[in-house]
Amino acid sequence: MLIEGRVFTLVLVIVFTAAILYLARELDSGKREVALARTLVFDAMDEAVGRAAEMGRPVHYTFGTGEMDASVFASFKILGYVVSKCAKMDVGMIVTLAWAEEFPMAEEIVKNAWRNEGKTDKCRPDFVRYLSRSFSYTTGIFAVMVRERPAANFAVGPFYNESLLIPTAGRRVGAMQIGGTAVTIQVPFLVATCDYTLVGEDMMVAGAYLSGTPLEIASVAAQDVAKCGAIILCILGCLLNLFGSQAISNLLSL
């Protein structure tokens, strides 16, 4: 019944899931403590919103044109954090979207944040805007930058050819910029144009760090263990390869 070439991945999924659930339970009950390293980007998020409050200008947040994937969900977490800061400090938000499917979630997050601060009346319907896909999305963001001159620009999500253009537009209006993407080929453009960048997995970890839920922290911890395992397998595999053994490669292709 098992498909050849997928067995190892299946075992990995089962082991990962079990490890995450076990660790989450341990963290939840307080039996174990896991601390995640705090990076400068988290402080920069607070600074960006604070800067917008001082300047009396809005914060712009966008997700990119990529399809909905894990990085979009991580970005929703970061949006939740940023918008809650904005609601606390009475800073206006502009959330621009390329996918209509993201609209209900983004709107819910924004509304909830303002509701939690008891400022429902200050949450405007135009905080979340759908600009449609392709270059009309990028053009729409250019217009937001020119007309509303946000003090901070968050570009966190699956970006493609717009990855260089959006932060460039933000730079023109002097916005403090925080970028992040898991699309490997687009990372350099965000690194080159943003003040701070979440590279690849940084985004997922940022989501876990900001929410602080045991399940997400357990997931990051399990991934770190898996990465250590991967490093060992890589080195061991190369050494065995020297002696003509394909044991690791064969194991992975089970």
Partner: protein, 202 residues
């Protein structure tokens, strides 16, 4: 001789209108922007309509009644505009999130984890390029460790610093390639303006 083709004129007008942003925000740019977004939204509306007809309504007419489920879920999305039943809109969102997550787990784990390790194990580390590759893979992997205890370890913090240099080299190479690509896009637009439109160049 300047082009007499109406389509080329429209293209040239919108190209210049978008370029006018480089000077500053202006009404011509705004016109182009709104037109662009309007056309794009209309395009995706029509695409969405055809998707519903071709992927749900037609199969239902052919007897595959299970397609009623995604249609109902889609209608639920609009419940958010009726406060008394707005909670219904959470179901399609929750299902969407669950399906996306489930669909991606195997693909991502296999393509971005297992396959990458398998490819790395095939390196011949007696060759310098392969050895550098292995060092790059290992040190970059240590850069992406997030547990405080691991980050603060002396060995891993040293390897992660080396990993950061590898990342910077890779980013630099990628950026250079794309900048070249963007120049070719600009050249394409200029060729359109000076070739197809005002015909200064052939």
């Amino acid at each position: 001789m300047i082009s007499s083709d109406f389509g080329v004129w429209v293209g040239a007008f919108f190209t210049l209108a978008i370029f006018s942003y480089l000077f500053k925000g202006n009404i011509v740019f705004e016109f182009a922007e709104h037109t662009f977004i309007g056309f794009s939204a209309a395009h995706f509306f029509v695409e969405g309509y055809h998707n519903i007809i071709n992927m749900a309504v037609r199969p239902m007419q052919e007897g595959q009644v299970s397609w009623i489920i995604p249609i109902i879920l889609g209608v639920f999305l609009f419940a958010r505009y009726v406060p008394s039943i707005s909670w219904l809109s959470r179901f399609p969102v929750a299902i969407m999130v669950a399906i996306v997550s489930a669909a991606q787990i195997r693909g991502t784990l296999h393509a971005e984890f297992v396959s990458q390790i398998a490819a790395t194990t095939e390196l011949n580390i007696l060759e310098l390029s392969d050895l550098i590759f292995l060092i790059g893979v290992v040190t970059v992997a240590t850069y992406f460790l997030y547990l405080k205890r691991l980050r603060e370890s002396r060995v891993l913090s040293a390897t992660s610093r080396i990993g950061r240099y590898f990342l910077m080299v890779a980013f630099g190479a990628s950026l250079g390639t794309t900048v070249m690509g963007r120049y070719s896009l600009l050249i394409g637009r200029l060729q359109f303006l000076f070739g197809d439109w005002i015909k200064l160049i052939k």
